[in-house]
Amino acid sequence: MEILLALQDGIPLVKEPFSAVATQLGIAPDEVIERLQRLREEKIIRKFGLFVRKSKVGVIANAMVVWAVPSNRVQEVAEFFSRFREVTHCYERRTAPNWRYNVYTVIHGVERKTVNEFVKTLSAAVEVKDYLVLFSVREFVRRSTGRVRPEDSRSAASGALGSGT
């Protein structure tokens, strides 16, 4: 937990970034590395690496496409969507009164035109015609989910990460 708290916002750009964290915590660099490897194997760390700021690398259009998929086809359709690299997120969600969409995909592309064309291709392939393409206009927050809170790193109750030490 302490390790995650120390580097969840990013490792420093120095020759030995994990040694820097280790010094800060008063443990050996190898221990930091081993623990991170284990956290990654156990998938508590979903991904460790570089996160690009999309707008700066040419990925401009981000659309949430919401689909109304018959419930008996959700699995098949969602798995099909998930195979595409352009689809970065694919979720099934609860519907609401006056809101019948149950499958949510986030699709990234360089321009709206290519995103729209891609969505049409997906729609035709799965034969689901009832969908909305919701383009982003402004981005207000984009940060990693699942931040460790300072109080958690000290509390014994947060045993999820404490095991196996």
């Binding site: 020759k15 760390i45 040419g58 609860r94 990234h108 981005e139 927050v141």
Partner: protein, 167 residues
């Protein structure tokens, strides 16, 4: 589709050269958890540790990198409840509502989108109770009627994999 995307991307990223893009792409994937990770990455790309660090530092300055670090599984670090919210917010109120929502540390995405429901965010909490409390606070603070807020709770996650092909 893949090839079209790449071709346009190359044009759009003129100020970032091919080695930069290879570096960004490489470091998005299996990051070497070793004592000197930049040296390992440089090895694979055929450049020195020093060049990796200089290029990354330049990319940070250009704002092309958000961070180099972990993305955690929210559920397993104690955030057991999460949802996607859509709200109808009057255009002239959007920035104020966004400022208020951004203050919640466990809001991970927040966008204005083109639709009647124009304000979208994802939020996580320790449990359903804490989540419900935060949502009420937000709804009241934003002055949004109950019927103008959709709570779209996830039932199954099929994919989360935000990696971009850059070369």
């Amino acid at each position: 589709m893949r090839f079209v995307t790449v071709e346009i991307m190359l044009k759009a990223t003129g100020q970032i050269d091919l080695m930069d893009r290879r570096l960004l792409e490489k470091a998005q994937d299996e990051f070497p958890l070793t004592l000197r990770p930049w040296a390992s990455i440089g090895n694979e790309l055929g450049i020195t540790e020093r060049e990796v660090m200089e290029r990354l530092s330049g990319l940070f300055r250009k704002g092309a990198i958000r961070k180099i670090g972990p993305a955690l599984d929210a559920k397993r670090v104690g955030l057991r409840a999460s949802t996607l919210i859509a709200m109808k917010v009057p255009e002239d109120m959007i920035q104020n509502v966004a400022n208020m929502v951004s203050k919640y540390q466990d809001v991970s995405h927040c966008y204005e989108r083109e639709h009647e429901y124009n304000f979208w965010f994802t939020i996580a909490a320790r449990d359903e109770n804490e989540l419900e409390k935060m949502l009420q606070e937000i709804r009241r603070g934003a002055n949004v009627a109950k019927d103008d807020m959709l709570n779209l709770q996830p039932t199954r996650i099929f994919k989360i994999d935000v990696r971009f092909q850059l070369t």
